[in-house]
């Protein structure tokens, strides 16, 4: 076998007390697709930052094409032939595709535009060079990022969770692109936590857990079960099943809602129609940026409808479109927003105070003043019941890990015993253990008769949780699809708008 393209020996990196990477060994062969597999917080991102020169390792050596390598900056990494496609894209929204590329690649405009087109055709990355980035879909933005990297002729291309933003069909297309790149001589380092995908495309996989390498295998020779065990250190938790039951009364109903936000970068919604009944979970699928945050704000009451919009949003049978968030909560609505730090919790405040923010109606106030004893009791209860790992109720919310804070916020909202619970991105950035705890809790509540609405980008999650799924694309909602009669590919067609929205199932 030839010498590896990139070779890491004993790489360590610590941030204060946290050992993000410990004694990592990694060999990436030339012309291969190599996966870095691990849960959130396993140290994948840190490792990529070290390879791409964003950060420098504390210890260890890097060998690149047979030469020792020390990178001071990403710019140096690019000169050496290492390119990176970020998970949260590093594109400039107000500039055009061409301008974004011109920032990195020297050359005349016409010439660059031509190269963008040629590369696009060659690798299946078609994109209009003159389009403004803010007008592009997430999939197109990813193509722009990849093209931008390719134009610097890299030997190694790092992709950070590239499929998390794509529907199934586009994942296939991306993999096709990656295979063509590999055959064209580029090695690919793919960061992921999706086992099936890695088995489908990668030649080699290095598995990380808590900052250490726990496996270096050919993923095609192992099943997902083995890989998962290496990744999380134990067997995958089994999903709990939902009891079949017929829906109860309507708890949330949205009828033909149109909405045009003030923000020019926001998505307009049109003809949104959905209903959630007691004892069911409805999922909203879709690639982010298709109107999810606008729809969420309308349901939560952060955006209040105008005076001319009547009879559009009903909760527990009454028109709430003109009511603010507090008034909706009084009617038995609870909400877990997608961003935990900032909207779900105040990072600088203790868990007790964060608990009070929404749970104060549970008798935590006396004559308008905080009843500290009861608030403490409530918080302790929440921490215990939802297995929140924290020093105690006085810990600042911002010091908790993403998964633990999510468990706390979900717990806080559930303890309000709402009639209607709305959870946006229930398991974003949450490790597998905590994610399955949150999911089984939601299913249990559904079985007890709660109406639950979930917005998620993770299709697998929606299939595990939901009785029915509707897909949001360009601000319009697909008909209601009953989960057990629907295939993921079907949802995928709606996600990319390939399926017309006038289905027959629409009641």
């Amino acid at each position: 076998m030839n010498a590896p393209l990139l070779s890491l020996r004993g790489i360590s990196k610590s941030y204060g007390q946290i050992h993000a990477n410990q004694a990592i060994d990694l060999d990436v062969a030339a012309q291969s697709i190599h996966a870095i597999l691990g849960e959130n917080g396993a140290g994948k991102s840190t490792l990529m930052k070290l390879i791409y020169g964003v950060e420098q390792p504390d210890e260890g050596t890097v060998v690149w094409q047979g030469q020792p390598l020390r990178l001071a900056s990403p710019a140096e990494a690019r000169r050496k032939g290492i390119g990176m496609v970020f998970q949260h894209f590093s594109l400039f929204e107000t500039l055009t595709v061409l301008e974004n590329i011109r920032l990195v690649v020297p050359g005349r405009k016409a010439e660059l535009a031509q190269r963008i087109k040629t590369l696009g055709q060659e690798f299946g990355l078609e994109v209009d060079p003159l389009a403004h980035v803010h007008a592009l879909s997430v999939g197109e933005r990813q193509r722009v990022e990849i093209i931008r990297c390719l134009m610097t002729n890299p030997k190694l291309l790092i992709l950070d969770e590239p499929t998390s933003v794509l529907p199934p069909q586009l994942v296939e297309k991306l993999f096709d692109t990656l295979r063509r790149l590999r055959d064209g001589g580029v090695s690919i380092l793919l960061i992921s936590h999706k086992l099936e995908e890695i088995r489908a495309i990668c030649d080699q996989a290095t598995i990380l857990r808590s900052g250490r390498v726990t496996g270096d295998v050919d993923p095609r020779e192992h099943d997902t079960h083995d890989l998962a065990r290496m990744m999380i250190g134990r067997d995958m938790p089994a999903p709990i099943s939902a009891l079949p039951q017929s829906g109860g009364e309507k708890r949330l109903e949205i009828i033909g809602l149109d909405h045009k936000p003030d923000d020019p970068f926001a998505v307009s919604l049109s003809g949104i129609t959905l209903e959630v009944r007691a004892g069911e979970i409805l999922g909203i699928a879709g690639i982010s940026g298709n109107g999810q945050s606008e729809l969420a704000a309308l349901i939560s009451g952060e955006t209040v409808l105008g005076r001319d919009q009547r009879d559009r949003i009903y909760m527990m049978g009454s028109d709430v479109g003109r009511l603010d968030a507090a008034a909706r909560r009084q009617r038995g609505f609870a909400f877990v927003p997608e961003d935990r730090l900032g909207r779900g919790a105040v990072p600088e405040m203790s868990l007790v105070l964060n608990g009070l923010l929404t749970a104060h109606p549970l008798g935590l106030l006396r004559h308008g003043l905080v009843d500290r004893k009861r608030a403490m009791a409530f918080t302790r209860d929440c921490i215990r019941q939802y297995d929140v790992r924290t020093p105690g109720p006085d810990a600042e919310a911002g010091t908790l890990s993403g998964g633990n804070l999510q468990k706390f916020i979900v717990g806080r909202e559930i303890m309000l015993s709402p009639k209607l619970l709305f959870v946006a991105q229930p398991t974003w950035g949450v490790d597998i253990g905590a994610a399955s705890a949150v999911r089984s809790r939601l299913v249990a509540l559904r079985n007890e008769g709660m109406a639950i609405l979930v917005i998620s980008e993770e299709l697998e999650e929606l299939f595990e949780l939901c009785d029915a799924i509707q897909v949001l694309h360009h601000g319009t909602l697909s008909p209601r699809l009953v989960t057990r009669d629907t295939k993921p590919e079907e949802i995928g067609r709606y996600m990319i708008g390939a399926q017309s929205l006038t289905g027959e199932e629409h009641a």
Binding site: P74, R102, L103
Partner: protein, 303 residues
């Protein structure tokens, strides 16, 4: 000469201090930095230019001194805001006050003294036109300012440099990730803005009203900052705004000349009133601000 001819003839010269300072601030803000010290930077440039010209150094050296001095002062601002990530609003105000203080100190012994302004250059042919002829009789600095406006417009529209500035202002983290030094770009932008404010002050002190009086900048730096927002960070609109303010500030004089019976205090407060009204109107259109605005304006950059 009637009022309209008077305003047309004087408008560009009156607009030049606004224009130069606002163009400098435009570059600074496009890079994502809010420098509120323009008034003080102009005051410092004004006194330095006045001293050099009064001592016989000539107008060219006067402008050089003003540009270097104000750029140096703005680098102190860069040092605190970029080096120590101090709050840009507070640091800008402090630098502004420092500049005004230095200006008063250096200018103490020059109070009420005068220097010779520059001759005006007429464009042959055009300057003989009726009514608008006065527009084409201007001093050399006005002509250079017009060229500078075009150059800055072209820089943002066509050049890579303009692209980099916009990129750094819109998304500094991404700019860093693709390999641009956000800090270097911002330091250079701040120094450029400082030098332009210095030139603006120099023009006001040794050409527009070539007489030294403490506090002679009289709020023009603030209007320049307002002009950048007024022009929604677009060069062409900032130029039009500067002309408008130049014209408005001449109205008081024009009104007196025609014997109009309006209190002079009201007339001299006109530019400020117009600023408030226009800013109000522009800020009402959130769409416009969001599309043209600078996303990271005033936020310190941390990797």
């Amino acid at each position: 000469m009637n009022a309209i001819e008077f305003i047309l003839a004087g408008m560009l010269a009156a607009a030049t201090p606004f224009l130069l300072a606002a163009l400098g601030e435009l570059v600074v803000e496009r890079a994502g930095v809010l420098n509120l010290g323009v008034e003080g930077l102009m005051a410092l440039g004004a006194v330095l230019a006045f001293i050099v010209v009064y001592q016989g150094g000539g107008h060219f050296l006067g402008f050089v001194a003003a540009g270097l001095g104000s750029a140096a002062l703005s680098l102190i601002f860069a040092f605190v805001t970029l080096g120590f990530r101090a709050n840009q609003v507070a640091a800008g105000l402090a630098i502004g006050i420092l500049g005004q203080g230095l200006s008063a100190l250096f200018g103490k012994s020059y109070e009420s003294l005068t220097v010779k302004a520059l001759p005006r250059l007429a464009v042959p042919g055009l300057s003989d036109l009726p009514v608008v002829g006065g527009l084409f009789v201007q001093d050399i600095v006005v002509w250079i300012s017009l060229v500078a406006t075009l150059a800055i417009w072209a820089m943002f529209a066509y050049s890579k440099l303009g692209l980099v500035l916009r990129a750094v202002g819109e998304n500094p983290k991404a700019a860093h990730a693709i390999g641009y030094s956000v800090i270097t770009v911002r330091v250079l932008a701040i120094a450029f803005g400082g030098a332009m404010a210095g030139f603006a002050g120099a023009y006001a002190a040794v050409i527009y009203t070539p007489l030294w009086a403490d506090g002679m900048i009289a709020g023009r730096g603030w209007i320049a900052i307002a002009l950048v927002v007024f022009g929604t960070w677009l060069t062409g609109r900032i130029f039009l705004g500067a002309c408008l303010f130049g014209a408005v500030s001449l109205m008081g004089l024009a009104a007196q000349a025609t014997g109009l019976d309006v209190p002079s205090q009201l007339l001299s407060s006109l530019p400020y009133l117009v600023t408030i009204i226009v800013l109000g109107i522009i800020s009402a259109d959130r769409r416009l601000l969001k599309l043209n605005g600078v996303a990271s304006l005033g936020e310190p950059f941390e990797r």
